[in-house]
Subunit: 362 residues, 2 copies
DNA sequence: TTGTATGCGTTATCAA
DNA sequence: TTGATAACGCATACAA
């Protein structure tokens, strides 16, 4: 099962013909790559010296070090990161557990994390957290013993499923997770403020017949955006109406909403979708049906994904990549022993971006 | 340095007060999480039995297993994945080494890989390969001993920098890498065919004054697209001219190209950009300057990133996510001992997608 | 069916 | 400055 089909690695010259002396589990000719012991033997020194030399310790004679480096080089020795982690109790990797994310959200957040992780010399271990709590637990547990810290995003309302299997032995930063768990620093988007900003903008434009395309209600972001929007409209313009249509954050449900509006011939002069993708789907469908945007109907979204700019979609900008990057930074601070000031939630305020789907540009 | 600032994990009840007996490197009260030995001691059994029980071996009495599971549960025991990998010489993780990718390419490829990896119960270990060969080597070496296989993308022409530090001990699949290395299966895009399809399309439309916005010349994709395009045009319409402007795959260089065309008042009726992002930048700049697309100038790109569809950009579609997913599948086949038929390069043919930037839709 | 002992590849402690 | 050796946490021959 194991040890077949591999393309073996030979860094230096001689093939290790004496590997049997070290023993091999398979018993067959598994041509292993050079280990620290091979280097030690070849250099006529102890493994301890090799380890010290290769890790830049001072207490090793330059001459000795040179000999070791030469041998290591010749054998193509590469330290076994797994063994190193086990011995040092440090992996220089951080685990990232994400749910099934819609569209560009996934990309942007991973991108931001990757940017910062690379800068800090950390590796990112990715794992999906499915809605299924069992799988979520598995994903979480698979991280134990491989990473120094955890970045967990789970905007679903139900946290009971996985909090139980959350390793408490390693630091973790939570993203967009409802009811921030005690002792865990977290990152959050001020969805209410963003939605309120959109509301104010639409109301200022004189719109009063508003439709909100909501995201799934078990999603914390979706819920906060809806509530924040409804509250703001109620306060700013009691005479306005907000009709809520349901979506799932995907483009086609935005299209569905548009079709409902068209078919029912609803009286609508503004639409606020809980995210950009639904806004985009709605926008396209409406324009295809001959509606003028923004003249007849103004449309706004949330997130400011890259596409939004090209379609001139008014939206509440969330710098997703930055949030990911910030999460990595906070996590490493904790990992490196930074004590105080790391707890609590770091709230990111969305920024209203006004574009052509709500105001005419000329 | 280590062991401070952590939020410790206690799964069951009692705090291990006897950890000192097991020894600890720090000497201080590092409250470690339960290990297999804790479970064994608590259950009054050997670690071997615990291991067998928890890994579903048959040779363990149901009664014994139950006792073990109960204890493990109570102590909140989670196997240490790192130690497990070391012992089993298998990590269930695959390493992904990517260069600094432009725009959505990164997202899409990681997305496809993640999709398949999740399905196969594998974790993805991400690492950036910078242009700097030294860093590239580091990224590669850091993977040694943590992953069972490697997915490497490096479209840069210069491979000397990192091939040397490529672990040959583990299977690897190369993506978009020039001069496919011997013994290494690889994935490639048929850039020439895609570019030729675009060429034919533009020529069929009667366009003869063509500009090509090229990508960086040290990039294999960029080079192949340029050469394939020039060759095709030369063959299909010897009377046509192709002027090459240089870009770097980013949107703004597409814009730059447009400005050059405008400022020089070049006679141009078609533009083929080496990727969508440059095409988009060019498109926006041209339209902003009052040019009619496609009437005055037809524009085509390459890749079919999500944005392309919304802007109705004609392009050569590459299913990036699928390539990533396929790479994972091929890799696992090799990892699982699938012998033949895994070598060689798997070529993905782009598909011509005709949209509104080259033909009027009504 | 269960226990004992060894090895995985590395780092760190302590003595030389 | 160097070497012998015990961890790290787990899996597995082999013996009982």
């Amino acid at each position: 099962m194991f040890g077949t089909g591999y393309i073996f690695w030979r860094g230096g010259d001689g093939i290790r013909e004496e590997f049997g002396a070290l023993g091999t589990r398979e018993g067959v000719g598994f041509m292993a790559e050079a280990t620290i012991r091979d280097v030690a033997r070849e250099a006529q020194l102890s493994v301890a010296s090799v380890s010290r030399a290769l890790n830049g310790h001072k207490s090793v004679r330059p001459e000795t070090r040179a000999r070791i480096v030469a041998v290591a080089d010749r054998l193509g020795y590469v330290p076994h990161a797994g063994a190193r982690s086990l011995s040092m109790a440090r992996s220089n990797a951080i685990g990232v557990v994400l749910p099934d994310l819609h569209g560009e959200f996934f990309s942007e957040i991973v991108r931001g994390m990757d940017r910062e992780a690379t800068r800090l010399g950390l590796q990112l271990l990715l794992s999906n957290m499915h809605a299924d709590p069992v799988q979520a637990g598995q994903a979480l547990r698979a991280m134990h013993g491989r990473v120094d810290g955890l970045l967990i995003m789970c905007p679903q309302m139900r946290t009971e499923g996985w909090v139980g299997s959350m390793p408490r032995g390693i630091p973790a930063v939570l993203l967009n997770t409802p009811e921030p768990m005690m002792d865990h620093p977290s990152m959050a988007i001020d969805n209410r403020a963003g939605a309120a900003a959109i509301a104010r903008h639409l109301i200022d434009l004189g719109r009063r017949h508003i439709v909100h395309i909501a995201g799934p209600d078990h999603n914390i972001d979706a819920r906060e955006r809806r509530e924040g929007f409804e509250d703001a409209v109620r306060k700013l313009a009691p005479d306005a109406t907000v009709t809520v249509l349901s979506g799932d954050f995907n483009e086609d449900t935005g299209e569905d909403a548009a079709n409902i509006i068209l078919k029912e011939n609803m009286k609508v002069d503004a639409i606020f979708a809980a995210n950009d993708m639904m806004a985009v789907g709605c926008l396209q469908a409406l324009r295809a049906a001959g509606k003028r945007v923004p003249e007849d109907i103004a449309i706004a979204g949330f997130d400011d994904v890259p596409i939004a700019r090209y379609l001139a979609l008014t939206t509440a900008r969330v710098n997703i990549a930055d949030i990911g990057a910030r999460a990595v930074i906070r996590l490493t601070q904790i990992m490196n022993g930074g004590e105080g000031a790391n707890d609590g939630v770091e709230v990111h305020e969305p920024e209203l971006v006004i574009r052509g789907t709500t105001v005419t540009t000329h």
